[in-house]
């Protein structure tokens, strides 16, 4: 199955983005690019603006300055719906599953944009709505197989342990067949085995579907192992950008993480 990973042209370009909440400058003049098929990590100490960066990319926050170019479309403001329909999916730092629904229903919501029928057809069920449902169920089952969560298909997500919930959230994002997948701390709070599993899934997604991955993670071992390039943010500013080896050796990065005596 192993494919040759060929990293392509930049698919997502962030240019001079600044975002402030009142007096708090969450992001200041941040620029970086993400190439097709690569695994790109964003790291930085707490409060560095990593999650804000993802929120800008998929339209939850609207930056005061700067532009985001995705697949050749350059814009300052994106709303979440547009981002989703252009092929950006994401997971959240604190699990954002629909707690009242089963695993299957949660993952099916990931197909929302692929559903072609309207509510009147669905009220009748027979005919187009049923066909639509079955076709999308088929896709969802592929994702379920891929992430090995067949046994919990019909379980309400609220009853699942944390590690599995994280995996279901990944499944929901994957069900949308995204071109870019934004992962906000996918390994946070996991034990070693769960982390290893999650790393394997992330790499497999990247390998087999060719999905571009942007990842925020605090576990440096994971970041250095799986990512192609790393952006480092600190206090809303970009302080380093490059391959893991370059970033690891960067003086500013070491200072930001370990502190520096003045």
């Amino acid at each position: 199955m192993e494919q040759v990973r060929n990293i392509g042209e930049p698919i997502l370009v962030v240019e001079n983005v600044s975002l402030a909440f009142g007096g708090v400058k969450a992001l200041q003049d941040v620029s970086f690019d993400v190439c097709e098929h690569e695994v790109r990590a964003i790291i930085g100490p707490n409060g560095a603006g990593k999650s804000s960066m993802l929120n800008v990319v998929n339209g939850v926050y609207h930056p005061q300055q700067g532009h985001v170019t995705f697949k050749g479309v350059r814009r300052q403001d994106m709303n979440s719906h547009e981002a989703a329909s252009m092929g950006i999916a994401r997971t959240f730092q604190n699990i954002a599953l629909f707690r009242g629904m089963t695993v299957l229903d949660n993952i099916m919501t990931g197909r929302a944009l692929k559903m072609k029928t309207n509510f009147l057809q669905q009220a009748l069920w027979w005919g187009p709505a049923r066909r639509d449902e079955m076709q999308n169920r088929h896709k969802v089952e592929e994702v379920i197989d891929f992430l090995e969560i067949q046994h919990i298909r019909k379980t309400p997500v609220g009853r699942l342990p944390y590690g599995l919930q994280k995996r279901v959230e990944l499944a929901r994002a994957l069900a949308a067949e995204p071109e870019v997948l934004l992962l906000d701390e996918p390994m946070a709070g996991m034990n070693l085995e769960e982390k290893q599993d999650m790393c394997r899934y992330v790499l497999d997604v990247n390998d087999q579907f060719g999905t571009t991955i942007v990842l925020i993670e605090h576990d440096m071992g994971v970041v250095m192992d799986i990512s192609d390039r790393v952006v480092v943010l600190d206090y809303g500013q970009k302080i380093a950008d490059g391959t893991p080896d370059v970033v690891r050796a960067d003086k500013k990065v070491i200072d930001a993480y370990l502190g520096v005596t003045h």
């Binding site: 939850v60 959240f92 629909f98 629904m101 229903d105 099916m108």
Partner: protein
């Protein structure tokens, strides 16, 4: 032992996603429908049909409407009675002013009017949530009743806004007896309940629940949050509107705007709290409970009090009703927020294992 899925293998997604995947459930539903359509009209007398079963069905439909909005889409509403009023007065006016209009068309158009009013008063939900939204729907409650009373055109210039529903006639057949009205209401409610069940198990319902559970995450995976909320208001109000039309035409015969007051809205809200928020079955259980309970209490409170040697003052049973309702609502909110439907589900899960503990 009896309630088990053992041996029922699903070999296609269609079989797995059918409306009632368990054979026992299918048998149960078919049996209930057979009893409701054939046995009940044969054995029940006029009093039971007209005073208990028809209001039960009408309130079930209204509760179902509110449940779609509050239970599935998570938008709290106190305007249920207003949407019912729009449905009732809408149907009345279509029937009055358009001679060629069939009665079922009037009911449906009454529902459509209610849907538009629902969308209008649902607009604040795009910006506000929870209690604040409840207050906005409260405005709908007062505004609609005021408008129907104030503008006599709606009640065809009758004194104090009272309207008398026209006779129900379909293809020359008049629905005059309790039996025929009951069957008509039952058929409408069954069809609409099936449609609701279909909606909540497909994309529409998933979108409603997603918006209820986590609106930001819903937006991020591409669910149009605004459209989903407004659709919930529209569908919910349509159901309430049809329920209102049936309330006027099949149950009371004469209604006035003041009959659709806040009390009625609260009654329907209690139905879904007791029956089960976010459950189709719960709407029926809740309506059954609230309609039947006062009747049972009336019948049995006095004999019971006499038996234990207390002399109940007259009118006490209606006070008792309020006390017990209040207590029950607090009980359900605290102990089982998902209501009777949840208790039924727990019972089913227990039955799967019974008589073994594990």
């Amino acid at each position: 032992m009896l309630y088990r899925e053992t041996g029922q293998f699903k070999t296609s997604y269609a079989a797995d996603q059918q409306i009632f995947p368990l054979r026992q459930d299918r048998i149960g539903v078919v049996a209930t429908l057979l009893v409701a359509f054939i046995v009940v009209p044969l054995v029940a007398n006029e009093y039971w049909l007209e005073a208990i079963l028809i209001p039960f069905l009408v309130f079930s439909l209204a509760a179902l409407g509110l449940n779609i909005l509050t239970g599935y889409a998570g938008q709290l509403s106190l305007g249920t009675a207003a949407f019912m009023a729009v449905g009732a007065f809408g149907a009345y006016n279509f029937e009055l002013r358009l001679e060629w209009m069939p009665i079922l068309g009037s009911f449906a158009l009454g529902g459509v009017c209610a849907a538009f009013v629902g969308i209008l008063f649902g607009l604040p939900s795009l910006r506000i949530k929870g209690f604040y939204l409840a207050v906005a729907t409260l405005a709908a409650q007062f505004f609609v009743v005021w408008a129907l009373t104030h503008f006599n055109w709606f009640s065809n210039y009758s004194a104090s806004g009272v309207i008398t529903a026209q006779r129900i006639e379909i293809f020359g057949f008049y629905f005059l007896t309790g039996q025929s009205k009951y069957l008509l209401v039952l058929a409408i409610v069954t069809l609409l309940a099936l449609a609701a069940k279909n909606m909540v198990r497909s994309e529409t319902g998933r979108a409603w629940m997603a918006v209820r559970d986590f609106d930001v995450a819903a937006a991020v995976i591409g669910i149009p949050v605004m459209r989903t909320k407004l659709l919930a208001f529209a569908v919910s109000s349509f159901y309430c509107g049809v329920a209102g039309a049936l309330y006027a035409y099949a149950y009371l015969g004469t209604v006035e705007p003041d009959g659709f007051n806040l009390d009625l809205s609260f009654r329907i809200l209690f139905m879904i709290i007791i029956g089960g928020v976010g459950s189709i079955l719960g709407s029926f259980l809740g309506a059954a409970f609230i309609v039947l309970f006062p009747i049972l209490l009336n019948r049995f409170a006095e004999p019971f009090a006499n038996a234990i040697g207390i002399d109940l003052p007259s009118g006490m049973s209606s006070n008792l009703e309020l006390i017990i309702f209040g207590g029950l609502i607090i009980f359900f909110l605290a102990v089982e927020p998902l209501g009777l439907a949840r208790l039924w589900q727990v019972a089913k899960e227990k039955l799967r294992l019974w008589p073994f503990p594990h």
